[in-house]
Every structure is written in C-alpha cells, then in structure tokens.
Symmetry: C2
Subunit: 249 residues, 2 copies
C-alpha cells in the first residue's frame, strides 16, 4: 500500500472556512496529523480518522520535526489517505518545506491543499480591504524576529516598504515589535487593527496606533497585527484615541 500525504490548510479557525477539498479529504482520511491549535470543529470533520496531535502551530518543539517526518512516511506505507493538517495555509509560515523534502526524497507522494490565511480571514471580519484603490497596492506578510541582528531585521524593512502589513505570531512581543518599527522610522501614529481569534464566534478586534500596541491586552488566542493607513477611518470611528491620552502620549 502506498498512500498520499496531503498537506492541508485548515484555514483560520471556523470549520466552514476550510476549502471543499480539505473537508472532503478530512472525511476520507485514515490518519490525521494535526497542529496543536486546530479547532475541535475542524477535527470533527475527520470522523473516521485516527487523530494525532503533533507540535505547535508557532513552530516551537522544533526538535520533533524529524520525528514528525518519519511518522508521516510510515503512515503513508500503511494508509491510503494521510492528512497533515496545518493552521491557515501550509505554504505560508507553515514549515512545510522540511516535510515535503523528507517525504519526496523517500518516494512518498505529497499533495498540498491551500487554505485561507489569517490575514484574509481577519480582513473579512473587519470588512476592510488590505488593498484599497489609491491607498494601498502592496501587502507584507511577516513573522517578526526581534533583537536578533541585521539579517533578522528584514521583517522590519518589509513592513516599512509595504502599504499594509500583516504581522503573524507577534502578539507575545508587541512591545519589541512596536519599538523596532518605530525605531526604524514607521510613524508611531500608524493605525492598526489587532484581531484575535479571527473568523471564530469569540473574535475580538481592537483598533489602536502603533505607539499603543504594547498596551493592548489579548486573551492568548491566535492574534494578527494589521498595520497601515487603510485602518485610519476605522480607528477614528472606534474612538480609541483616549488610550493614548490616558497613557500621556
């Protein structure tokens, strides 16, 4: 028996924001290896599959990657449909490269099923386009790496050069992110939207300025920082400027 390993994007969280193909493959799957943060509703679609949690979405537990690779290859030897389910889209911050390289080098067939990434789901929640005619024609998608020297400051340059930026997996380092961006010349008054648990019933949106980012409080859910002039109108309507004044800025 030679199965296929499907690297499947689980989308942003809501189970009906999986693609039709992803939902079908989960229904057909014999085994599903999934990231820790995949929603229960999504896993329930894999009703007949053995479900095996592996690793963290944010890429911690990196020592386990070789072990995951090996388990995927083993599973494809005894099962027809093996799904490797990843939050969002597999090809964007999904660390898919190691798994694809390992599997193809061992002759295991791999197919990738794209998914809705968090920046698009959060933008749908806000009903604010990442791009807007006359205001924004470039979007940077980045993961921050703070205080690690010149090579790692490329994420900062990327955010500064784009009209709109989506910063993934940065909520835990809000202070350092704001300092790095403002230090590099991004105006402190740049409007932003902080979106937690995008697409889920408990989603939460906060509008603020870049200077205020470190003072925003999150609940620990997946959080995206959206930054750019396209959020100025929403920030003004949300009336969050008092936060700056309270903090004396």
């Amino acid at each position: 028996m030679n199965g296929t390993v499907y690297l499947v994007g689980a989308g942003p969280g809501a189970s009906d924001l999986l693609t039709v193909r992803a939902a079908r493959l989960l229904g057909e799957a014999d085994v599903v290896f999934h990231d820790a943060l995949i929603a229960e509703d999504v896993l329930r679609l894999a009703s007949a599959a053995k479900k095996i949690p592996v690793g963290k979405r944010c890429g911690r537990h990196s020592t386990a990657q070789h072990f995951i690779n090996k388990r995927l290859a083993d599973a494809a030897r005894s099962h027809r449909v093996v799904v490797r389910l990843k939050g969002g889209d597999p090809m964007l911050f999904g660390r898919a490269h190691e798994e694809i390289a390992y599997l193809t080098s061992r002759g295991v067939r791999v197919e990738v099923v794209p998914g809705v990434t968090a920046a698009l789901a959060a933008s749908a929640d806000l009903a604010i386009s990442l791009t807007r005619r006359g205001a924004a024609r470039s979007v940077a998608l980045v993961t921050p790496r703070v205080g690690k020297g010149e090579r790692e400051s490329r994420w900062v340059a990327s955010v500064l050069a784009a009209d709109t930026a989506a910063i993934y997996m940065g909520a835990g380092e809000a202070g350092a992110i704001a300092a790095a961006l403002i230090g590099a010349g991004k105006p402190a008054q740049t409007p932003l939207a902080l979106v937690e648990d995008a697409s889920l019933p408990g989603k939460r949106v906060q509008y603020a300025t870049l200077a205020d980012l470190p003072r925003l409080v999150t609940r620990g859910g997946p959080t995206l920082i959206l930054l750019g002039e396209v959020y100025r109108e929403a920030l003004a309507s949300a009336g969050l400027q008092p936060l700056s004044r309270r903090a004396g800025s």
Copy 2:
C-alpha cells in the same frame, strides 16, 4: 425584504478550492454578481441563482463601479441572499472597498467571506513554501504599476524588501516589471516561478530568472509571478538556464 450582500472569494479557479461557506452561499443565492473571469464550474454551484456578469477581474471598466454598487443595493431590496463573487479573496486586490462603503452607507448588510488567494494556490501547485525556515520570513503581495512616478514605485520597494514576492496581474507587463526591479537593484539572476491558471487542470509552471521574465510566453490565463531564493532549487532542477544562453545573456 432586506437581504444581505455577501462579498465572496471564489478562490483561485478550481471549484473545490472554494470554502465550504462560499459553496453553501452560492447554493442559497438568489442572485450572483460575478467577475468576468470566474470559472464555469464555480458558477454552476449557484444552481438556483440569476447570474449577472459584472466587470473584469483586473479592474478595468472602472466607470461601471457606481453602476455595480447600485445594482447590488437594489438586489438586496428584493432578495434574501445576494452574492458578489470575486476571484481569489475579496480583500486582496478585489476592489471591495467601494462596494462595502456604498452598501453600508445605504443600510445594506454586508458580510465578507474570505477565499484562497492565487499566491497560496500557486505555491500549493509548486509544493514550494513562500516562507522557508532560515531563508524567507517575509512575503510581499503586490500589483505592479510601471512607469508612473515615485508614488507608484512603492510596489518595487516592497518587492525588494521582502524575501519572497508574489506579483499579481503583471504578466502583460513582464518586460517593464523586470526592468523596474533590476533597475532598482534586484539581482537579474533572482529565481522566479511563473504560474498560469493556478489550481486548474491546465495549470502551467515555468521556472526562470528575473532577467528571463520578458521572454516567457503565457497563454492569456490568470498568471502570477513568484520571485525569490526559495525557487532556486526548482529552477536548477528544471534546467531552464539554456533559455538565458539562447538569448545571449
């Protein structure tokens, strides 16, 4: 009767790469206003709906935008489920802003359903991550605007600052894009993947260098230019370097 206008992402082309929610809404829709480039297979999901083609995906026919806005508002007055179907994702290069602003100002309820954007579908076709640990942590998504002065050169800066870039709607201006990027300092030997009709049965992938971009031939389908070091290995394997030699560079 007060209906809702759903701005729905149709995804990259394949009908099973719509989200489950998008497919359900198309099935429930009374009317579907769709871009010109939406695939027949996708439109077929809206079996009970009146289907009205409006405008072009690439944003030409801009004079008609006000007319589209008005038709959407009118439709919501007499129908429960009105779908505005846009290629890819509505909030990325989808020109959704005008429609949302018009509809909400007239008290029409709007919901946005995100979709799989072309850069992710093309990356799934290639099985090459846009980001790769140690090599790429930032991605620029841009639409080029060539030879229009300083303000419009921001797309160039954005591509140069990011590790990987996805250039949407640029196939018709390949020569000017390559000249603008190389002129701004992007190495002429930067590897790229040109992906036409991503996710569709007739998809076509060409690996080349930035210098060779103007010599690549497309068939007129939706085409995405993916640019960055993450494509170097695939370019080497594809053995397309002879193209440079033939052209004398």
